[in-house]
Symmetry: C2
Subunit: 191 residues, 2 copies
Amino acid sequence: MELLKERIRRDGKILPGNILNVGSFLNQQIDIALYDEIGKEFARRFVGVPVTRILTVEASGIGIACAAARHFAVPVVFARKFRAKNVSGDAYTAEVTSYTHGLDYVISIQKEFIRRNDSILLIDDFLANGCALEGLIALAEAAGANVAGAGVVIEKGFQNGGRRLRDRGIRLESLAIIERMSAEDGIVFRP
Amino acid sequence: MELLKERIRRDGKILPGNILNVGSFLNQQIDIALYDEIGKEFARRFVGVPVTRILTVEASGIGIACAAARHFAVPVVFARKFRAKNVSGDAYTAEVTSYTHGLDYVISIQKEFIRRNDSILLIDDFLANGCALEGLIALAEAAGANVAGAGVVIEKGFQNGGRRLRDRGIRLESLAIIERMSAEDGIVFRP
């Protein structure tokens, strides 16, 4: 998605530890016109794929999932994050390791919000090691639902999450894949 | 907002401790068509009010703020929540007491995302004691920005947050105000 890549090149900040800060337009301040284009692009890429529900995780996935949901005309469900497994038996839960933040957490969704006959599209802002998306897949599978695919805005192609998901047979659409990046050479996208 | 009130009556669940669970359409599962109507209604109520930025707090405010932002054509900025004051000097912070969850937390926004000349609309899903909105007002004031108003989806009129904000001179628009509720008598809205 060229508009997105241009924006990342212009406004993304490369920080130590292979961190790409896109807080000025994607995940703390939200450029709502860009979100609409992102939503449209997910709809274009998943055209013809049956989707009954969009699943994401708080917090930065929510706005993007909502932008996509308008074009699919389906509900969004977002998983909540907890420090520990303190949720009730009415919820599906999965443990997630965050390498970026250096901690483990638990994600959880009330059971009533994922159905056995759902065809679920996963949406998130970033894909690095893929642990958050794998957690969401675990929730969907616990409910017996089908995972129709996963859409992420920015994939860090130099980390292994994308490969792991594609190897599992997940249809993954990343709107921008970063091949490599450094403060010296900037950002190189996968063609 | 009649559509919203009907939905609250139909799908809201009254739980012990004066908790209204609207997770099936508002803040865990998101009815995106309803969100669009909510966004439109905020735009209608704040027509003519200059707004340069919409401010909310993670997580459940984000989707609603995005739905509103489409109609105002301004960016959304969301405050992050932390357990403790561990954020850098590049951020505005405010302490918030959550009576619902029985704990204190800190909300924070990077300084670059609120400007001195901003006219800010606050958006959130719930207003009870008003502590979250007061925290957002503190962030806006720390930046020297103007608070143009606050829009909430559901106000618990039997708690004092709404009165406190109106007494401070904040222009507050609540799309549904609950006068009282109980498992026996259901939900009574303020006319």
